[in-house]
Amino acid sequence: MKILATVYKEFLLLIRDPGGMALIFIMPLALVIVMALVQDAPFRDYQEIKLEVLFIDHDQDSLSAKVKKAFQASPNVVLIQEQDTAEAKKLVQAGKFKAAIIIPDQASADLRRKTKQLISSVFSNFGLPAEVDSAKLPTIDIRLFFDPAIKSNYKQALSGSLEKISASVQAEWILDELQQQLSEGNEEAPPKIAVDLSKIMRVDQRYASENKYQGVILNSVQHNVPAWTMFAMFFILYPLAGNFIKEREEGSMLRLRLISGSQWPVISGKFGFYFMICLVQFILMIAVGIYVMPLLGLTKLILGSNPLGILITACSVAMAATGYGVLIAVYFRTPQQALSFGSVSVVILSAIGGVWVPIYVMPEILQTVSRFSPMSWGLESFNDLFLRQASIPAILPNVLRLIGFALVALAASVLIHKSRTVV
């Protein structure tokens, strides 16, 4: 009954504190929406590269036509036709475009000549009749200009694509030339076969999930909703520590210290109340991810197929957040100390925990440090559930870490609180 009385008392205090209510419920909702919107573009950058690239075609022949056709089929590149190489370079240097592809004059003719020379050399080498062109032919240079500010992953993606297209064109033309030279002087030669190299071998890309949620990827909503939900849950320390220290300063805590057997119910009642508040925050923010994000042009939050796992993770994050809040409340003697340290520490824990940017884009040292942030345990668990369709045993290590963190924080709080109630 003492714990329930404390929970009810905390409830009354909260509903009479509009500022506290806003801090707990309104601010986190605003935060998660703003962060999801702000980070939508960078997340699309990571996964949905769509580059506007200048295309300068001095060749005006089959090679440039093939390169153009291949890029036009790519969902990640939009080719913008440009006539002048110098102008294209200027535009790229000015950052108006991320890159420019220049197909040199006579590139197709040169490639044909080089291909013919190559096949003739091979024929001649095998004693087959062939007219070998002994001229030293120059390398065909397809040039790529990059904006100096281009991200290296964009640069690699574009170069890779161009090299792949070039290799494919060369291979096709070599086969064509081979058929051409084999049929020369042979009136009964079979008609040439059009070879589609893409049908010989292809790279089949899939996400490793195996159910209906296959293809759910880490986009802005999938990252930001659980990440900032945890941030908000850890920020529970603000009202928790604020009220706790206020009660200490106002004297009501002194009266409670004078009441025998009230210490444990006071701490556990506060813990229980704010634990429930954290869960309410979680439900509200998940609801925003599902119902509000699509209204703002973002993707809908996909929760995956393990509601029990989500509940367990949410409860363990709520425990860790509340335990940390109680520890801060008990340890610090003034609201200024508690709230300053508390807020800064939550921001640091969130930064190294992968809330602001995914852990995999952090430097290696931070990736190592992030293993010690309870927010990274929670976020990893949510990612496992939302994106990887993990089972409960798979999330258990992170859940146990969170619960362990909460228990250590609570045990420390009780010891500190007791040590200050002298007898």
Partner: protein, 249 residues
């Protein structure tokens, strides 16, 4: 034959970084059912003594027993027997009078019906019945002091410790509080009344103890103290004679 409610034996306490002891070899007894006035100038050691008595501070030396229970060893049992009204208002400002008292009643381990009956009784006694559902932060200083006192006595403690219960209240509130404390004498409740206000002490206390610089200067009934200082006309003159006229901070 009266029994001992409180026994302080050779109690000493020195705060860290302080050159002198706040309480030094303090020894006295308080009889059960008496109203004991703990008097002394600012910094005399009254609050430190009360804190040690409640178990909120550990003495460097000495022992304290309350109704035969050792405060250091049986602090939880001792606290069940006592009600403390600290000088500062120890209430939740954003709860109503009723919600405050009900919560503290629950913390004392009382049943809902009992708490409700006690709240009704005391709010009526202290003239707060009509304010029961008002938020405490809207109360006047006197109303808060009265409510603070109710929170200390809600659970029928055998020993009530009052630290400056009338500080900062108007004449009417003070009169009401003192009348109530007078009435408690008849119930056999033991009261420790820590105050500067000597007139109040003269009015309600059966026994007095004057301390200064952490030491007990005199103790006894009001009559015995006055008899020992025949050159003084009243308690204030005795107090000034024993503690001096120097201003204390």
């Amino acid at each position: 034959m009266s029994t001992c409610a409180v026994h302080l034996d050779n109690l000493s306490k020195q705060y860290p970084h302080s050159a002198k002891r706040a309480v030094s070899s303090l020894t006295f007894k308080i009889e059960e059912g008496s109203v004991f006035g703990l008097l002394g100038p600012n910094g005399a050691g009254k609050s430190t003594t009360v804190m040690m008595l409640c178990g909120l501070m550990r003495p460097d030396t000495g022992s304290i027993s309350v109704f035969g229970l050792d405060v250091l060893e049986q602090g939880a049992d001792v606290r069940r027997q006592i009600g403390v009204a600290p000088q500062e208002i120890a209430l939740f400002p954003m709860l109503t009078a009723y919600e405050n008292l009900f919560y503290f009643g629950r913390m004392y381990g009382m049943r809902a019906a009992e708490i409700d009956a006690q709240i009704k009784k005391y709010l009526h006694v202290f003239g707060l019945a009509e304010k029961r559902n008002k938020i405490v932060s809207t109360f006047s200083g006197g109303m808060k002091k009265r409510l603070n006192l109710i929170a200390a006595i809600l659970h029928h403690p055998k020993l009530i410790i009052l630290d400056e219960p009338t500080a900062g209240v108007d004449v009417q509130s003070r009169n009401l509080i003192l009348d109530f404390l007078d009435s408690l004498k008849d119930d056999g409740t033991t009261i420790i009344y820590s105050s500067h206000v000597l007139e109040e002490a003269e009015r309600i206390c059966s026994h007095l103890g004057i301390i200064d610089e952490g030491k007990l200067i005199t103790t006894g009934t009001r009559t015995s103290i006055m008899d020992a200082h025949l050159d003084c006309k009243n308690l204030e003159q005795v107090f000034l004679k024993l503690t001096g006229k120097n201003i204390r901070d």
